[in-house]
């Protein structure tokens, strides 16, 4: 495991090591030779404008989209050759864009679904653990998921991902369509999980300001290429970069 440096100055191991990752859709190179390391137990924000390749990056890491070339190392496993359904067993959970709540199932059934493919060698996560994190889900555990609000659905899919006991959580646009107060709650919770439980989070977010407020590192993508890979504080303080790529 190679070392990276987080915002608090401490050295931390690398949870995911992405090298030369390229993904093409026909003639279009959505990801072009992307390389960076994701420090373990930290939040890394992936930022960039629409079409920069952020969602494709997460989908390639989690095996939903096949990589054309390059590697993604999670410990001794090369994820770029691993089918998506095996990822939770290896400790990688993905919360895709658009939430992916199974609306006809109850909250409890959705959560149990997350536990089906949990990380190999781990004990089942009790539902109460998720209900401690998201009390509203506990109150509505027997309710059908289509009755949940957008914020509750986001909590549900994060809870479902946590049921697999992941070491790495890929989170795609969790703020999409949510009130700022809910977004702040969710980002705070992610910060807590990374800080207190050592969960590694790779967070794709349109709202760069919010993402950098909670992240330790930031990777900026533009047209499928990495244009910056810095600490979150450095990125937030770089006026030129902010104006050019992050829009604030």
């Amino acid at each position: 495991m190679s070392a990276a440096v987080s915002t608090d100055g401490r050295e931390t191991g690398t949870a995911l090591d992405i090298r030369g990752l390229t993904t093409t859709y026909g003639a279009v190179r959505a990801l072009d030779d992307v390389s960076f390391a994701v420090p373990s137990g930290r939040i890394t924000a992936v930022l960039g404008a629409n079409g920069a390749g952020k969602t494709t990056l997460l989908r390639t890491i989690s095996g939903l989209v096949p990589a054309t070339s390059g590697t993604v190392a999670l410990g001794s496993h090369d994820l770029s050759r691993t089918p998506a359904e095996r990822m939770p067993g290896l400790g990688l959970a993905h919360v895709p864009e658009g939430r992916g709540v199974i609306t006809e199932m109850t909250v409890e059934e959705n959560l149990r679904l997350g536990g089906l493919g949990r990380r190999t060698g781990t004990e089942p996560v009790p539902l109460e653990r998720v209900f401690d994190l998201f009390q509203v889900l506990g109150e509505r555990r027997h309710g059908v998921a289509h009755q949940l609000s957008g914020g509750e659905r986001q909590m549900l899919v994060i809870g479902r991902a946590l049921m697999a006991s992941p070491t790495v959580l890929l989170l795609d646009e969790p703020s999409l369509g949510l009130a700022p107060r809910i977004v702040a709650q969710i980002l705070d919770l992610l910060g807590g999980l990374a800080r207190d439980e050592g969960l590694t989070v790779l967070l794709v977010e349109q709202n760069a300001r919010s993402a950098l407020s909670v992240a330790d590192r930031g990777v900026v993508l533009s047209l499928g290429r990495v244009v910056a890979d810095e600490s979150a504080a450095t990125l937030a303080g770089d006026d030129q970069l902010r104006h050019a790529y992050l829009g604030f």
Binding site: S62, L64, P83, A84, E85, R86, M87, P88, G89, A93, H94, V95, P96, G100, V101, I102, T103, E104, M105, E109, R112, L113, G114, L116, G117, R118, V157, R160, A161, A164
Partner: protein
Amino acid sequence: MATSSALPVRAWRRVWSGTGSRHLLLALLGLLAVIVYVEAASDFRNLQFAAFGYLGIAAGGLTVLTGLNGQLSLGHGAFMAIGAYTTALFLDDGSPVVPLLGVLVVATLVTVLAGALIGAAAARLHGPYIAGATLALAVGVPGIALHFSDTLGGEQGLGVVAPPVPVWLLDLDYFFTGRDLTPSRYLSYVVWVCLIVTFVLLANLSRSRVGRRWRAVRDDDVAAEVAGIHLGRARVSAFVVSTACAGLAGAVMALVVRLTAPGGYTLTLSLTLLTAVVLGGLGSLWGALIGAGLLSYLPQLATNVGESLGLDQTRAAELAPLVYGAVMIAVILLAPTGIAGAVRALRARRTARAERPPPQTTESTVQQGEMSR
């Protein structure tokens, strides 16, 4: 006193709250209802009831595939044909080498084998493509019987001789009813016992983690995949379970109809099954049963009504498809989720209304106002 009267209520709640025990209880109640009907009905009604049963088994399997897993099959009639022909090959001369239960199991297993092969190929397809592939099956399989006419009887098909009623069952029925168990009543029992066993298994399966996997794949395959579900395996398993039901349905249909011929397993049968599932409500076993019941009884009912209105027999019989079409249109317009879906929605609305706090009366509002002052 209060404690002793609360005991049965508590025991009832415990049985009803457990998925397996609830399904077993419903199965026992269902069996009781079947016994009452079979014993009371005439031979003709029993054969009609048996037809309702085998359509119900096939529709139950199809609702699992289409309603719970989101795969559209237009070829379930072909899988019924496989089960039926396997049965016919065992029971063509009235001296079976295998007991009836064994024949039904073998017919189901042969269909499962075919279902697994086709399901593995179909798992790579989605939406209209899988519908197209199964449609080809529905059209092609009856043709196999024509091609291998020496073995499968060609256009005329194969006769099926149902095994005699077991002596122990004859004695048991005579002991309770004081009359002989006729072959029609016996076949009705065979079909409905098969249906009850199938439905208990399907109900338990759809409530288990297997059922959760199927529903997850149906609703959001990306979410299912990232949750660790192998999409192909989930689709093939649903296909196999569904074809097992079709195979069993075909096997008991062969017993009841006493003939297995290509004309009985055309595309029309596959579409009829799909209609039953849509009418009853996709994904609901109750719905599949209701749909199969409508298919079995509505034409006869419409004909009877037509005759009582003074139409001659031919005109009255022509009324059946018209009434059937009208019912179909009415269900689609008034209850797009099918009959079972509409009942479920109605119950949900009632529960929500019951849980809503009662509106405050003027008097109580005034009192509250006075108190706040």
